[in-house]
Symmetry: C2
Subunit: 151 residues, 2 copies
């Protein structure tokens, strides 16, 4: 039996690794990767604290990094994997990017873009949600439990 390493789970695990780095750096643990032709072309994690910048969400950094790699600003043919449902800002950026597909793990019932307007992303962009949501939730819950203990 041949094992494929190119499954959605494989790439979401990579996004979770990015979230883990964020966790270890004291950032809300969200990670993202951009995949093009079955290869990861960008990895990023939330850096709002380190960069002192509300725009430095994992998705935003991943979009910019992927565009740099591709040498063009559109992410046609690419899939973004992210461990938490994108917020309005990130969904807006993903709209402009014309990314083919978005796969997110944990729905964000408070700040996710679907609470603003589920039609925010590009009509041609496929959406898949809930993949490895439990793993993402565990990390985020643990993060906030630690924050609460400190305060």
């Amino acid at each position: 039996m041949e094992l494929t390493v190119y499954s959605d789970e494989h790439f979401m695990k990579e996004a979770l690794k990015q979230a883990q780095i964020a966790f270890e750096e004291g950032e809300i643990p969200v990670g993202a990767v951009v995949v093009c032709q079955k290869k990861i072309i960008a990895k990023a994690y939330n850096q709002t604290e380190r960069l002192n910048d509300v725009t430095a969400h994992a998705e935003m950094l991943a979009i910019t990094s992927a565009a740099n790699f591709l040498g063009g600003k559109y992410l046609k043919g690419c899939t973004l994997y992210v461990t938490l449902e994108p917020c309005g800002m990130c969904a807006g950026a993903l709209f402009w990017s014309q990314v083919d597909k978005i796969v997110f793990a944990l729905p964000d019932e408070k700040r996710g873009f679907t609470t603003i307007n589920p039609q925010m992303i590009h009509p041609k962009t496929q959406l898949m949600s809930g993949l490895m949501a439990a793993e993402s939730k565990k990390m985020i819950d643990e993060f906030f439990a630690t924050v609460r203990k400190k305060n």
Copy 2:
């Protein structure tokens, strides 16, 4: 009669100057400034072409620049002036920034955030629209007329 230089018009003129720079560089002409305690702390213009980055809207660059100036990621006490209605991405970023006030010139009936969800910005953020909209429209119309001639 004393003339005040701190009017909304004054700051929108500065945002229009930024839009003019974008125009001259072949970018869709949108400019923004962030004002804190009656002083401009950040200026930016759309650079999506130059930076090959869909996230490089004037507002995004202005938010990042203002946060750098302030040394903190929130823009409480600040006003953002921008020559075109913010899109969903920028409105989402402005939500996170907790900016006090947004003043935009020209409504964007196609991509403005109010077409997505007028409640996208922070409930505490004041909104003013239409200031010097004609000046902004003139520049944008001229830009697209030039683009059409070239193609």
